[in-house]
């Protein structure tokens, strides 16, 4: 495999604090606390899955929070965002209602999908989250269609899909790149390149580790960014999204990152597949997007360890309260299975 990502895929690099020059302090604090809350929400889900309170699979994205949080800085509620199997952060970055996520994952009717979806099928259209599904690449063409609709409806809304490096191995993704370009659809392809598809490292699946090569092939503007630098993600995506809203057609952003948990549930998954060792995970954890932002803010004296401790304690309490509330919520009524088949 060609290492076109160069140092971006080297876990020994990019451990330093990120650049926050000229950034708005309240926006930085907001991104920090949002990432932290998403992290804690997923840690709670990991715990709930491990102890058996959650019955179905959870695909956790801890370590990748900067991507959705950075991109969502530039989104409106009327944009059309689609996710995949690992989409808790994509949804929460648009609507930080972790209680509703807990309820959904626990199969309760108070959840985002009324208890009919669980972790893998999430829906919050009023906040721009059109849906996530676990069929790899299953929403890519749908997002292109939603983007085409935005253009037909003469809005400046965009379509957006989050996919991983594995999804580009599906044929429909390439049809979708081509269709979006030929239609000049305002469509942002967000590639979360965490180097793994389930247990398989990208070196065993593709001749290059850089997914942006497909943007080049389809004459689609793209940016390749450190996905664990929330400020860089927000800035790069803003430029692309601004152009899209101005009618310049589709774009692709590739964010290099790493997931801390295994493919599914709470385990490390160092014993399945290849090229995933505890040492690797420990190195990648030094590229933690939350820690890097926090260190930068502390260094710039706009944040302190005391504040961070207070924030941690407050969020932990909120998480516990929401979790207990969701645990006690009702399940869907027995007629739900047949009721929702048709509209």
């Amino acid at each position: 495999m060609k290492n076109d990502l160069k140092q971006l895929s080297n876990p020994e690099k990019y451990h330093d604090p990120i650049s926050i020059n000229n950034q708005d302090i309240s926006a930085l604090k907001n991104m920090l606390s949002t990432m932290l809350l998403i992290r804690k929400t997923e840690q709670q889900l990991a715990f709930g899955r491990k102890n058996g309170l959650i019955g179905g699979p959870v695909h956790l994205g801890a370590g990748q929070e900067a991507i959705a949080v950075g991109i969502s800085q530039n989104l409106k509620k009327t944009d059309r965002v689609f996710g995949a199997h690992r989409s808790h952060s994509h949804l929460l970055a648009l609507n930080l209602d972790f209680y509703k996520l807990f309820a959904e994952v626990l199969g309760k009717k108070t959840g985002f999908s009324k208890g009919m979806g669980g972790s893998m099928h999430l829906y919050d259209q009023p906040n721009g989250f059109y849906g996530s599904v676990p069929i790899v690449a299953g929403t890519v063409s749908l997002a292109v269609g939603a983007a085409m609709a935005a253009k037909m409806q003469k809005t400046d809304d965009i379509g957006l899909v989050y996919i991983g490096d594995g999804a580009v191995e599906e044929g429909v993704v390439h049809e979708s790149f081509n269709l979006a370009k030929i239609q000049q659809a305002p469509m942002l392809f967000v590639i979360e390149n965490n180097l793994f598809a389930s247990h398989m490292h990208i070196s065993l699946r593709q001749p290059s580790d850089m997914i942006s090569r497909f943007a080049i092939a389809n004459d689609i503007p793209y940016k390749l960014v450190d996905g664990n630098d929330v400020v860089a993600v927000a800035k790069a995506s803003k430029e692309l999204i601004d152009d899209m809203r101005a009618g310049k057609g589709p774009a692709l952003i590739e964010l290099v990152t790493y997931r801390w948990y295994g493919h599914v549930d709470w385990r490390d998954d160092v014993d399945v597949g290849v090229a995933r060792s505890l040492d690797d995970i420990e190195s990648w954890k030094l590229r933690d997007p939350i820690m890097r932002l926090s260190k930068s803010m502390i260094k710039a004296k706009m944040w302190s360890m005391e504040q961070e401790n207070d924030l941690n304690n407050m969020l932990d309490k909120e998480i516990q309260t929401a979790w207990e509330k969701a645990i006690n919520d009702p399940y869907p009524s027995s007629d739900a299975t047949l009721k929702y088949v048709y509209s």
């Binding site: 009324k114 059109y130 069929i135 890519v140 749908l142 269609g145 048709y342």
Partner: protein, 329 residues
């Protein structure tokens, strides 16, 4: 408003024109739409009348275009995807089966993929195995899809309009062997697809034939031929295969006490089996005078050679002979 003469193809064209004229959220997407000779006379000049932004010819990408139509429907549009041959649509099965059919259910009734997928059965003429398939039974198997097979000129127009106005995903299947039928139609009245049911298209008393799409035409033709032999055939046209309603069929079979199903798909695992199963499991014991029977395609891909092809497809005469055989018992 006066009634107007149509054939099956121009009735479909009239439905497209009605929808594009009256509903700004309707658009059409599919291969060949700027040169629609693939689809007979059913889409002529739509691009010129309504513009290429609403009548979209596409790259050779059945999967992405079907998915895009579903996505557009989630965003408030009413798209129609056109697959000039059902065989090529098989590239789009994830979009149809995993996405369109499931989104309402998976999201607790909050998402409405109101997309219409027009897929055409286009066979014969030595086209062979991959230009011929009638796969309606697959889609009738999938909860969440509505499956429509118009067999008459009126249904070709009115059920297409009803499909597009419906909030659910609809597989609308027309058959090129129906295009020559003619009829005089009144101006459009919008129908609610969710209340459309099988209809008795010919009244009779000796035997009930249940069929859909082109098989319904064969049934009607056979009934016409048998009239001179004093055999009275009742034809029930299914029209909507999913969700499948059986009350009208039950009433007819209770009256005639004989049942023949004609279907344009393969026999094994086909829709003919579903019809017979649903009827037999509801009928009182001893109601039927003869065992129920069915005619469908043999379990083989469509051959190309004309001799084999002629034997492979069901003819009106096959239906006539089957009826005589049942009633002779």
């Amino acid at each position: 408003m006066k009634s107007q003469k149509y054939n099956y193809g121009t009735a479909i064209l009239a439905a497209f024109e009605y929808l594009l004229e009256n509903y700004p959220e309707v658009f059409v997407i599919g291969q060949g739409l700027w040169s629609p000779w693939y689809v007979g006379n059913s889409m002529t000049d739509l691009d010129k009348k309504f513009g290429i932004e609403r009548v979209i010819d596409t790259p050779v990408s059945e999967s992405a275009c079907t998915g895009a139509a579903i996505g557009a429907s989630l965003a408030g549009m009413k798209p129609i995807v056109v697959h000039p041959r059902m065989d090529f649509m098989l590239y789009a099965m994830d979009a149809v089966v995993n996405q369109a059919a499931k989104w309402s259910h998976m999201f607790g009734g909050q998402a409405h993929p109101g997309v219409t997928i027009r897929s055409i059965i286009n066979r014969g003429g030595e086209q062979g195995a991959q230009h011929s398939q009638a796969l309606h039974a697959w889609f009738a198997h999938v909860p969440g899809l509505r499956v429509v097979m118009p067999s008459t000129v009126a249904d070709a127009r009115d059920l297409l309009i009803a499909s597009v106005l419906c909030n659910d995903p609809v597989m609308y299947i027309d058959d090129r062997w129906l295009y020559e039928q003619e009829d005089e139609l009144p101006p459009v009245t919008e129908l609610d697809l969710t209340s459309q049911r099988p209809v008795v298209s010919l009244k009779g008393s000796d035997i009930t034939i249940v069929a859909s799409g082109h098989a319904s035409l064969l049934a009607r033709e056979a009934a016409g031929q048998l009239g001179s032999e004093k055999i009275s055939v009742e034809v029930v046209d299914v029209r909507v295969l999913n969700p499948f309603h059986t009350e009208e069929i039950m009433e007819s079979v209770k009256k005639t006490k004989n049942l023949l199903v004609v279907d344009s798909g393969w026999i094994s695992g086909g829709f003919s089996a579903e019809i017979i199963a649903k009827i037999v499991e509801q009928l009182p014991v001893g109601c039927l005078s003869n065992p129920p029977a069915r005619i469908a395609l043999p379990d083989a891909p469509a051959p190309t050679s004309r001799v084999l092809e002629k034997a492979y497809y069901t003819s009106t005469n096959d239906v006539v002979e089957a009826i005589k055989k049942i009633l002779d018992n």
